[in-house]
């Protein structure tokens, strides 16, 4: 059962010598063995490395050497380069790619003492919001395996929810951490663009890509962020601003913006009431709720589609299959579609109409948020307008992700910080998530609100819900 613990609980247990890192690691590997055939959260399980890392950590702990994540098993999304561990970005084109260096995020986690369990499944190249477009097969939602986990970091979110790991790392271009965290009922933090290095992450939309933790608790999220954050000479967009983590869960007198535009047409009524109940809880905790007019998030779909596909085409234009991987004929359909749309949007004669127009509307969105944050400290909204959708939903929908991510795209486009927290369940037992959006570099604020909610709902009945599909599920798995 050690796999069910949070990062903080494992840290404390290791410190008090109640168990070893090897025992926790074996518990996770065991859970993966028992559940992953059905869930398919992992593309690669690095058992050998995990056991080696765990033994090393135990040795260090016995010598009294401390590190922020000493001996903590983590799962890493498969678009982070891991030296000596296959990295595919869930695309068969990279099936045999064995990186010769680590992404900065991975290096930092290693320095902090992590045990690497393996690489998690994702939409191929992170091009999607379902984890269904993985060339290695879809990941399933642990709460109901006939449903999607969301994406593109669906493997990471499902692995955390199903207790296959203590925590995981994901990446987000627009929604790829928050949305799967919402659908899997876990905490997903998208840091401010520039807070965490992108070096060694398989590039998607370079002006948007952010890496962050997916965890069981808000506190774990903050702890992992403190390891990941910081300027990296290898990524010129990383900010010199230092993260000074100080999380205040007392939110009395702080202002929350709630925008009617984010309870959009077609929103699932249970999602709407779940998030509105969460807002009520914040009000009871002393926050001031302000109604806020925000720029229609529907336009963010268009802006995001253009910018992301343009950046995809530019990034993947450089992929030649000569130095590593297979040649360009192996690109899957989704990658081809995105490369072509981006190529078209950037091509001579169309640049102004598409890319330039999108960047102008992006400027409007940035300004809109700037003004909003003069009036409020954070904004709370649904993360996803729907509950987890059935497996197969992406078929024949070439804009599935863009539509599913309508409520997370505006804040990503503006480079803001945001976090998904679980706020309850639907009558069908599926998780509901709310996002807390903050200004750039205000992770302290969003984590404070998130922690306050978590602390004050700790004894709520819904907190006792368990995913139907974990290694300890008592009833029959929901097939």
């Amino acid at each position: 059962m050690l796999n069910r613990l949070s990062v903080k609980q494992v840290k404390n247990g290791l410190k008090e010598k109640r168990f070893s890192s090897l025992e926790v690691t074996k518990a996770c590997l065991d859970a993966i063995r028992k559940t992953d055939e059905k869930l398919h959260s992992f593309v690669t399980v690095s058992e050998e490395e995990a056991l080696r890392d765990a033994k090393n950590a135990d040795e260090k702990i016995s010598k009294g050497e401390d590190a922020p994540l000493q001996g903590i098993p983590l799962a890493i999304k498969d678009n982070f380069l891991t030296k000596g561990i296959r990295t595919t970005a869930s695309s068969k084109i990279l099936d045999e790619f064995m990186p010769t260096y680590d992404a900065t995020v991975v290096l930092k986690l290693k320095d902090a003492g992590m045990v690497i369990l393996g690489k998690t499944n994702m939409d191929a190249w992170a091009h999607g919001s379902s984890t269904e477009t993985s060339d290695y097969g879809a990941t399933r939602n642990p709460w109901d395996i006939s449903k999607l986990p969301g994406g593109s970091s669906g493997g990471s979110a499902a692995a955390v929810a199903a207790h296959q790991t203590i925590a995981a790392i994901g990446s987000e271009t627009a929604g790829s951490i928050r949305q799967p965290a919402s659908w899997c009922g876990v905490v997903g933090l998208k840091p401010t663009y520039g807070r965490v290095s992108r070096y060694g992450i398989v590039a998607m939309g370079s002006s948007l890509d952010s890496a962050g933790p997916i965890t069981k608790t808000v506190e774990d999220s903050a702890l992992i962020l403190s390891v990941l954050a910081g300027k990296d000479p290898k990524d010129a967009t990383t900010s010199p601003l230092k993260l000074k983590l100080k999380i205040e869960s007392d939110i009395k007198g702080l202002r929350i913006g709630v925008s009617p535009q984010y309870f959009i047409n077609g929103i699932d009524p249970e999602v709407e009431s779940g998030v509105k109940n969460a807002v009520k809880t914040f009000k009871e905790l002393g926050a001031e709720i302000k109604e806020l007019e925000l720029f229609d998030p529907n336009y963010a779909i268009d802006v995001y589609t253009i910018i992301q596909r343009s950046e995809v085409s530019s990034n993947l234009a450089r992929y030649d299959g000569i130095r590593f991987g297979k040649d360009r004929s192996y690109f899957g359909e989704e990658a081809k579609r995105r490369i072509m749309l981006g190529t078209y949007a950037l091509s001579s004669g169309y640049y102004d109409q598409y890319y330039n127009k999108a960047q102008k509307v992006r400027a409007i969105i940035i300004e809109d948020f700037r003004k909003a944050f003069e009036k409020v400290d954070v904004i709370i909204a649904p993360t996803s307008p729907s509950l987890p959708l059935p497996v197969g939903s992406t078929k024949d929908s070439s804009m599935f992700g863009e539509l599913a991510d309508v409520l997370v795209e505006p804040s990503s486009i503006a480079g803001l910080s945001g976090i998904n927290i679980p706020v309850g369940f639907s009558s069908s037992g599926l998780p509901i998530g709310a996002q807390i959006i903050g200004p750039q570099f205000q992770e302290n604020a969003i984590l404070g609100f998130a922690k306050s909610f978590e602390e004050n709902t700790q004894n709520a009945a819904w907190r006792k819900n368990e995913p139907s599909f974990t290694e300890v599920s008592k009833g029959k798995p929901n097939l």
Binding site: M98, G194, F324, K336, T343, Y344, M399
Partner: protein
């Protein structure tokens, strides 16, 4: 799933105005595309292009395009040589090498 209604005249527009020449774009993007794919992509890319035309509803006459959300400019580093991959490491993932170099297809005509 909230899906914005496509305009009614969309179907009509789709029939008489093809916006994208898939064959040409695939050539620009250096992507092999089969004839079946060409038809499918044409329809899908047209759909996406039609969808994103909604942006034209937003007045941007006075707006300067955003080029960066970080506010950072002219980020440079010291021009010093640091340890990097060995030749062997750099070549580890390629299928075809020649005397310690990457082997690539000819670019110029041999004649």
């Amino acid at each position: 799933m909230p899906i914005r209604q496509l305009p009614k005249e969309w179907e009509l527009k789709y029939n008489w105005l093809m916006k994208i020449n898939v064959k040409n774009v695939a050539r620009l993007a250096n992507l092999p595309v089969s004839i079946d794919e060409e038809k499918k992509f044409e329809k899908q890319l047209e759909e996406t292009l039609t969808y994103i035309e909604n942006l034209n509803e937003v007045d941007t006459t006075e707006v300067k395009p955003a080029d960066n959300v970080t506010g950072l400019t002219n980020i440079t580093r010291e021009d010093i040589v640091e340890p990097s991959l060995s030749q062997e490491e750099a070549l580890r993932n390629t299928k075809s090498t020649h005397r310690g170099f990457f082997k690539v297809k000819g670019i110029l005509d041999a004649k």
